[in-house]
């Protein structure tokens, strides 16, 4: 662990030095030993192959994240990764948009950092949070040159409401636009609904995990199989799925 920041109340970003992790695809995750009997899955917020550093930005919600947040500089972390399937690179000739809610924003930022130079048109980032102090990485997205729309549940910053409003407007203008979304399940469900669950709408999902490598079949979500609904592993077939692959209610 080489660096530590507190980007928002109750949120910590940790940098670790590991060339292997730094080579991850955005959307992939790290499976981290903390306290407790299971590892904790956390996505990468920054991936820097040059320095060999990777960062993870997480919210402190329970024993594991609290333990991780309290690690001191120089601590050696036991991390399995990079794991899972990351975001596919967007087709640079067509518009794309990032839609993140809460701690769903960091993995999209890792993606944006890698893709933005290749983008022909200015990409859009729609960032949602509960309240002003919890809007993550806004400045960083602006520095990448993104058009940034902010929504907060309480209206304390940007538009009042969820990311779905701005996304609907963006989709109205860019009906075939590529969408990359990460956030709470309810938000992803809505993203799936208004984007028509297309094969170029990508969503990074969360699920309780055991192994993280595909062995235990714990982390499943319901997929749109050839012979009806089937279960897919978030740790292996995901965490990034296309809207087309998933079944939401």
């Amino acid at each position: 662990m080489v660096k530590r920041q507190v980007p928002a109340p109750g949120h910590v970003e940790l940098w670790v030095h590991s060339p292997v992790l730094a080579g991850a695809t955005p959307g992939q995750f790290a499976h981290v030993v903390t306290q407790g009997t299971l590892r904790r899955p956390i996505s990468f917020s920054r991936l820097d192959v040059d320095t060999g550093n990777a960062a993870m930005l997480f919210q402190v919600v329970g024993v594991g994240t609290r333990w991780l947040a309290n690690q001191e500089m120089g601590a050696v972390l036991d991390i399995l990764g990079p794991l899972g399937r990351g975001f596919p690179v967007p087709d640079a000739r067509r518009p794309w948009c990032l839609v993140g809610g809460g701690v769903g924003i960091p993995p999209l930022f890792a993606a944006a950092s890698q893709w933005t130079s290749a983008a022909r048109m200015t990409p859009t980032a729609i960032l949602g949070a509960r309240t002003e102090s919890l809007v993550l990485l806004e400045e960083e997205f602006r520095q990448l040159g993104h058009v940034v729309w902010i929504t907060t549940d309480d209206g304390s910053r940007g538009m009042k409401g969820t990311v779905i409003g701005p996304l609907a407007r963006w989709l109205a203008k860019n009906p075939q636009g590529q969408v990359y979304a990460c956030g709470p399940t309810a938000m992803l469900r809505a993203v799936g609904a208004i984007s028509g669950q297309r094969d170029d709408v990508w969503m990074a999902l969360e699920q309780r995990m055991g192994c993280g490598v595909g062995a235990c079949l714990a982390c499943v979500v319901l997929g749109n199989g050839p012979e009806g609904p089937d279960y897919r592993r978030v740790c292996t077939e995901g965490p990034v799925f296309s809207g087309e692959e998933l079944i939401f209610p």
Partner: protein, 317 residues
């Protein structure tokens, strides 16, 4: 030190450490993190005649020193296993134990029959903790007669070494072990998970999609040791012990309680290399405890062989 273990029907393990069913997939999943050729064996995820879909998520939940799982025995069926997974396993230099499941006695029989025709399988492990659909859903493993019926059906189909995996969710683990021994089992593996549950307080509902789940991990080690100790004293066939093993000392506890080999499950999720580390440490640990060979450790705390009562009395009687 030679760690090799000889089990019935010519089953030879290079060491007593086997990956437990359901925690190690079909091999390739962990292959980039673990050197599989170091393991004594691997028991694959339970196999049924047809694919089973499994339970709705969430399927795991953390508990004090344990986990609950309600995977619901999801698997893609024995046929897909033979075609898709077995080729990889045949290439690995470790023993392959095929774990079999069924909703009826006949389903167990079918899987056993199918697997017996395939090269590359070294043993069968019959997981009797499945609901017996014809008998109202209580598991085969909770009733000695039904457990014996499953074993007899499997025995009819195969000459492979067969172990039956004992459920701890019964008044009679020992009686069940005896019943399956009489029905032709070559070994007992013990134990499977204990039925437990957790509440998702925030959402005011059972935490697992399957409502109840199987408890595994260090929390259950004392229960597993007790059952291994009791079964090892009763049956004449070898016992493969498991339940909460997370260290080399834990392995020694199981061996002393009478296990000829062990399986390691939940700890792999946290430390995928732990089994390898145990294999590496075992010779030194055994030597330090004053044993000359692995075989001498097995059963050394059992009555008769242990210095239990005598030392106890020496201290306060």
């Amino acid at each position: 030190m030679n760690l090799a273990v000889s089990l019935p029907r010519g089953l030879k393990l290079k060491n007593p450490i086997i990956a437990a069913s359901g925690t190690f997939g079909f091999g390739p999943e962990y292959a980039s993190f673990v050197d599989m050729s170091v393991l004594g064996g691997i028991s694959v995820k339970g196999l049924s005649p047809d694919p089973w879909p499994g339970n709705p998520p969430p399927r795991v939940w953390e508990t004090p020193m344990g986990i609950l799982n309600s995977i619901g025995l999801q698997n893609h069926g024995v046929e897909v296993f033979c075609q898709q997974d077995l080729p990889f396993l045949r290439e690995t230099d470790t023993r392959v134990v095929a774990n079999i499941i069924g909703h009826t006695v006949d389903e167990y029989r079918q899987v056993a029959a199918r697997l017996s025709r395939e090269p590359g399988i070294d043993a069968l492990e019959v997981n009797i903790s499945c609901p017996n659909i014809k008998e109202g859903g209580m598991s085969f493993g909770q009733n000695p007669d039904q457990a014996a019926q499953v074993m007899a059906a499997v025995r009819f189909e195969t000459d492979l070494p067969v172990m039956v995996k004992i459920s701890p969710n019964t008044t009679y683990p020992v009686e069940i072990a005896e019943a399956v021994e009489d029905a032709g089992a070559d070994m007992i593996s013990a134990i499977n998970t204990l039925v437990g549950m957790a509440i998702d307080v925030k959402h005011r509902r059972p935490a697992l999609g399957g409502v109840t789940g199987g408890l595994s991990g260090p929390a259950i080690k004392p229960i597993a040791l007790r059952i291994v100790y009791e079964v090892a004293q009763t049956v004449k066939i070898p016992v493969v012990g498991m339940g909460g093993i997370s260290s080399t000392m834990d392995v020694v506890e199981f061996l002393m309680a009478g296990a000829a080999a062990v399986m390691v499950g939940t700890i792999t999720f946290q430390y995928p290399r732990r089994m390898q580390e145990i294999v590496a440490e075992l010779p030194e640990v055994i030597t330090e405890l004053g044993f000359d060979c692995l075989q001498d450790v097995v059963g050394s705390a059992l009555p008769g062989r242990s210095n239990a009562s005598s030392m106890m009395e020496a201290e306060y009687e």
